[in-house]
Symmetry: C2
Subunit: 333 residues, 2 copies
């Protein structure tokens, strides 16, 4: 089976150069198994494709507009109907392509994808998920910002969609699902979280392991961790902020004394490997789950290798029939 993947030419901090780099990598690695397309301004992208000798391998689909990283979803919805995000989503909806990958503005990507593709039957709210690295593996964490006010039933659906994703993307037969909470006892948490715990404990097809604290995510105790989008977004940004603070502090300290500077040079590889382990890299590719179409968000700072990883995530989702699985799981409850 050939999987047809469309990529946003204008999403991400270093677009379109990083996008061209990623497409070059995927062409080299995947041969005929993947058919590739890029969406964006013809006048910008055509010369770059020619230069990278990709003209024959990558279809170019024109879009007039570009969505900026700071454009509000509302503005995007109203004003930029010919943006690469709109055009890409419509291409998926019309069945010309199997999956859509963008490194653009997350809020806008979700808003436009929801508008154009709609949700799968039975799904109340699509969610954005992110893989959080742990010492051994990675956990899928959702929702990370698409839905701020959630009902217990929404959290149950996040658990179902997240389980399907981890089966498909990471090959885990029966993913362990945890509920993000502030303690391990069942009596902990908000009313919504307590009710969600009761729903999850009874749900069929879900391997529910109970409450998970934020510190435990990094210990890999669960394969899927669910929470509402407000809490998830705060948690994710707390993690990012802490990582940045520590690495900046370390850099500052290592520069402050000559002996430490020599030490830093010698320890440089270890520092770089730690930074790499925490950067998007191999774990890049956040799935937008519950939409009636495969959409994968790449980190805005992803390099060519990382964006190629996000494209690989999209490919796996299509090959394993993720949409059908989610549909089945939701219909079964």
């Amino acid at each position: 089976m050939t999987v047809r993947i469309l990529v946003d030419g204008h999403g991400g901090d270093e677009a379109p150069d990083v996008v061209i780099d990623a497409l070059t990598r995927v062409c080299a690695d995947c041969g005929g198994a993947v058919e590739l397309g890029i969406v964006g301004q013809r006048q910008v992208l055509q010369p770059l494709l020619a230069q990278a000798k990709l003209t024959d391998r990558v279809a170019l689909i024109h879009a007039d507009d570009v969505i900026g990283m700071c454009d509000s979803p509302a503005k995007v919805m109203r004003g930029k109907r010919n943006s690469s995000m709109h055009v890409g989503a419509r291409q998926i909806k019309d069945g010309h392509w199997d999956a859509w990958v963008s490194a653009g503005n997350t809020g806008a990507l979700m808003a436009v994808s929801k508008l154009v593709l709609r949700t799968l039957p039975g799904v109340d709210r699509p969610a954005i998920a992110s893989l959080i690295p742990s010492m051994e593996s990675a956990s899928l964490f959702l929702d990370i910002g698409a839905n701020v006010d959630c009902s217990p039933h929404h959290l149950l659906q996040f658990a179902q969609m997240g389980s399907c994703y981890m089966q498909v993307a990471e090959g885990i037969a029966s993913p362990r699902v945890g509920l993000l909470n502030i303690g391990s006892e069942e009596i902990k948490g908000t009313e919504v979280v307590k009710e969600a715990g009761a729903l999850l404990a009874e749900a069929e097809g879900i391997r529910y392991i109970g409450n998970v604290e934020a510190t435990q995510i990094f210990q890999g105790v669960a394969d899927v961790v669910v929470c509402d989008g407000f809490v998830g977004n705060v948690a994710l940004k707390s993690m990012e902020g802490t990582a940045k603070l520590i690495l900046n502090h370390l850099k500052h300290e290592l520069k402050s004394a000559p002996v430490a500077r020599i030490g830093a040079m010698l320890a440089g590889k270890a520092l770089r490997r730690t930074k790499d382990a925490l950067s998007p890299g191999e774990h890049n590719g956040a799935p937008l789950l519950g939409l009636n179409g495969v959409v994968v968000k790449s980190h805005g700072s992803a390099d060519g290798h990382a964006l190629a990883c996000a494209i690989a995530v999209a490919r796996r989702e299509v090959e394993a029939g993720l949409l059908g699985r989610i549909r089945g799981a939701i219909e079964a409850t």
Copy 2:
């Protein structure tokens, strides 16, 4: 003025040794300005006080029971009315002492303190606050777990209490108050957060700077950051988990190659200083705000120096009349 401070002899990972160490430091540093007491099992504490030559300097108040770090607040409330936490809180209530410092179980400390001391007039919910280090200074972050379901009005009171604390403890005349949210625009967030934003914008005596994202806390954009206790607890644990993951990863990488090992030895001071900057240390001492009594929580892993810092926080709160200030701020609205 002599400030009378009572310390929990059995709170924290290394109690009572760390407590004796802290009391020794405070006696040496503060002379007669501070009167000290310790609460706990006489048979355990008396020999330690004698050994440290503190018998004449530190009053010993006996308590039969000890609350474990894993005891649930409910169990503590029902079953351990003669614990050091109960006895300490009653001593404060009865006016024998001005402030109560414990490194024990946070949930139990709040539950017992609330039961015994009650809240200040007008305060709906006491909150637990924590100082989060940034590159330049530190921000007070609250609530970090005492109140999971909060109304906009509760968040307003957290802002008022946090402002009073930062005036007193850090000497900031007009502390900048931010509302933890998932974006900078006013339309972001849950319904409760949006309403809280409107209340804060109108409140007198509060220097409200608008929404603050979790990544921004570390940039020191606000002196006080408010949120509900569920979100605050998740954020704090996300920070702790990330810090641990990074430092473990770094340690692992630094051990993996001989050259890196030499580098690590040379860079060791820088690594240690980074770890120190993120550990409780100087910023130890989380105030329980809104109670009708001064209560300060020390980190469970605090060493003698850090616990002495928490005692210093309690002293500043008493000397600056924090309770009266909070009472005034709440009454004025």
